[in-house]
């Protein structure tokens, strides 16, 4: 009996310690593919999942960020970056098409396909249930912010500015956009602005931020109020 007790106790202890140790192993995964890890960290940082350094070292924070990303995107949240996760991140190894360059220069006159898709995904996340004009309006606000001195100078800078868009914070921006969102993005890039130059918008029925309600209103389109 005593022997059995000891065996059971040891097993229990070992199990718990090994759990912790196992967790330690996962936490300090230590991948040697620093280049890919760096890319992963940069994207996760841009999307608000990761707050640590972009240094190519797969550590604790990186793994937490990956798990969070995985759970938000319908992937197995195990912290291991396989093909599916890489795809969801938009990281392509050599040999496949990339197209992940960021557009925008301070001259403001450069745009390319990845700008269109980024805008389209943001519209999709923020306003896919809105009427078409409402979708063009969201893209117009983003472009107005690029032109405004108080905001970042590029489309990706504006879209990923921390706290700016709910669709970025909750991962909806990573969904495949509807066709109307792509068309709306192109119209906005071509110069259509139904908001009259707005740089803020909110849904008056759901907005909790009191400050935004003090901004001067330009117009209302669908569920959103557009402001200076």
């Amino acid at each position: 009996m005593k022997k059995r007790l000891i065996i059971i106790l040891c097993a229990a202890l070992l199990l718990t310690i090994s759990q912790a140790a196992y967790a330690e192993e996962l936490i300090y995964y230590g991948s040697s593919d620093t280049e890919t890890v760096r890319q992963i960290q940069q994207k996760l940082k841009n999307w608000g999942y990761y707050e640590g350094r972009v240094d190519g070292e797969y550590g604790w924070m990186t793994e937490e960020a990956i798990k969070w990303f995985q759970s938000k995107n319908g992937l197995k949240a195990d912290g291991k970056v396989g093909k599916l996760t890489l795809q969801a991140l938009g990281i392509y190894k050599k040999g496949s098409s990339s197209g992940q360059s960021s557009g925008g220069s301070s001259d403001g006159s450069y745009s390319n396909d990845s700008d269109v898709m980024l805008l389209a995904r943001c519209i999709n996340g923020e306003a896919r249930g809105e009427e078409y004009t409402g979708q063009v309006a969201v893209a117009a606000v983003i472009l107005n912010r690029v032109e405004d001195p108080g905001f970042p100078n590029s489309i990706s800078g504006v879209v990923y500015q921390s706290g700016a868009f709910d669709a970025v914070a909750d991962g909806q921006i990573n969904l495949e956009p509807y066709d109307s969102c792509v068309r709306a993005a192109k119209d906005a890039l071509a110069g259509w602005d139904p908001t009259g130059g707005a740089i803020y918008y909110y849904n008056p029925e759901t907005a909790t931020n009191q400050w935004i309600r003090t901004r001067e209103i330009i117009t209302t389109i669908g569920k959103h109020v557009f402001c200076k």
């Binding site: 005593k2 106790l9 608000g48 604790w60 009427e131 100078n153 921390s162 914070a169 139904p194 908001t195």
Partner: protein
């Protein structure tokens, strides 16, 4: 105590020990996380401080210098430093609401120093006013830095009275329930109250605030009048026309939603003068039957029907079975690019499904255009790089500060690449160069 009880107690003790170890590890990892974040932010803070201080120093040096080359070098650095500082601020855990003024200040500084650099490189020395403006910016920066330093020291002292609080996906530094960074920045932004009025040739120059709309004139038109116009033009029933209020940004306009079968058209008409400023259809055409030339004719007919002055096509693109044409106002033989109108034509049936004329009505007036001081041949000869010029025309192009400059527009090719070069018709200097990207049948300007 029997064996079973001992076993149970033993397992419980083991579990407790294991959990304590595990819990201890989690807490220490949390501490590491907190440290890592704080180190990152500290570094950003320190870099921000150093960057803005360098910027202030260089502004002061520039104001004290009489050497054009030295000035040019300093201005290039100032431009870069202000951009870097703006970027740093974006990385701090402060909401964009609290940093808008600071970032605007830095963007305007970057913009201003770029504009000064451009004119210095063209041989125009900085005026006394410009130099005073620079000293004022330097002073504002230093005041801001004092505040920033004060806040930083406050953080070092009150080590135990603040925590990191998570809001959505961001971590914010809070004391009690107040976001420390946010309130500190709001206070710091007081230093920008005395920011000098800066007028220079750049997009953030103050002369652009309160600019008037040259193409808008006449009486105010009521929404009923416009409703009537729409009914006539589009053959729509009154019940299909829905008034959507006044748009109070840019050119003041009445907004309408007009139902047309499955489609819905959104429109803006200017309150003063009743001009169509914007139109957009909710549904894209389902097929492509017309040629680009046919579609262009439809666009030109439409503009004529609105009484718009002579326009010339500049470029077009095609997407979603729609041709989107860009037109510029043509005065005699000069293309006036500021007065821009865009028209979307359905390639299914030639219907006008989109229109955008805010740029046109904001800027349009008949101009007094001077004769060029250099000839077309001289402009062409000034292009010494290996580009084959295929077309030369006169153009009035907007500068970054929305002034206008008369240029020779030279279109040319270098191998597969197409370029448009704008040569100032007065000085012979190059104002702007564009490289064209042609994708599918779209001719896009880079």
């Amino acid at each position: 105590m029997n064996m079973r009880n001992k076993l149970i107690i033993g397992i419980c003790l083991t579990a407790i020990v294991a959990l304590t170890i595990w819990g201890g590890m989690a807490v220490s990892e949390n501490e590491s996380l907190k440290n890592a974040m704080e180190n990152q932010y500290q570094q950003d803070f320190e870099t921000l401080y150093a960057t803005m201080r360098d910027m202030a120093v260089k502004l002061e040096k520039t104001a004290a210098s009489s050497d054009e080359s030295f000035i040019a070098g300093q201005l290039a650095d100032i431009s870069k430093l202000s951009a870097e500082a703006a970027d740093m601020i974006g990385r701090l855990p402060v909401s964009h609401i609290s940093t808008e003024r600071t970032v605007s200040f830095l963007s305007q500084t970057e913009d201003f120093s770029s504009a000064m650099l451009r004119s210095t490189l063209r041989g125009k020395s900085l005026s006394e006013e410009n130099k005073e403006g620079m000293l004022a910016i330097a002073k504002s920066s230093r005041d801001f830095l004092d505040e920033l330093n004060g806040f930083y020291e406050q953080l070092q002292d009150t080590d135990t009275s603040y925590t990191w609080t998570k809001d959505n996906t961001e971590y914010y530094l809070t004391a009690a329930s107040e976001n420390l960074f946010d309130s500190a920045f709001t206070d710091m932004e007081e230093s920008f109250v005395d920011y000098p009025t800066m007028i220079y040739d750049g997009p953030f120059s103050d002369h652009l605030l309160g600019a008037d709309y040259k193409g808008i004139s006449g009486e105010e038109v009521s929404k009923e009048d416009i409703s009537g116009q729409i009914a006539e033009r589009l053959g729509a029933e009154e019940g299909d026309i829905d008034y959507a209020g006044v748009v109070e940004g840019g050119i003041r306009a009445h907004a309408f939603n007009v139902a047309r079968g499955e489609d819905s058209i959104y429109m803006h008409y200017s309150v003063t003068g009743g001009n169509l400023l914007l139109a957009s259809s909710s549904t894209a055409p389902s097929e492509r039957k017309l040629s680009v030339e046919q579609a262009q004719q439809k666009a030109e007919e439409f503009m004529r029907s609105l009484g718009v002055d002579t326009m010339t096509p500049t470029y077009h693109e095609i997407y979603s079975n729609t041709a989107v044409f860009n037109f510029a106002y043509l005065q005699d033989d000069v293309r006036v690019y500021s007065d821009l109108i865009k028209v979307q034509v359905s390639l299914a049936d030639g219907a006008i499904i989109g229109y955008e004329a805010n740029g046109y009505y904001a800027n349009h007036e008949v101009r007094t255009i001077s004769t060029p001081k250099i000839t077309a041949e001289q402009a062409e000869r000034s292009i010494t790089v290996d580009i084959e010029i295929t077309n030369i025309a006169k153009a009035l192009i907007p500068t970054p500060g929305k002034n206008e400059v008369l240029c020779w527009e030279l279109k040319g090719t270098k191998g597969e690449d197409k370029y448009i070069i704008y040569v100032n018709a007065e000085t012979g200097g190059e104002e702007q160069i564009f490289k064209l990207i042609e994708a599918d049948e779209s001719v896009l300007t880079l």
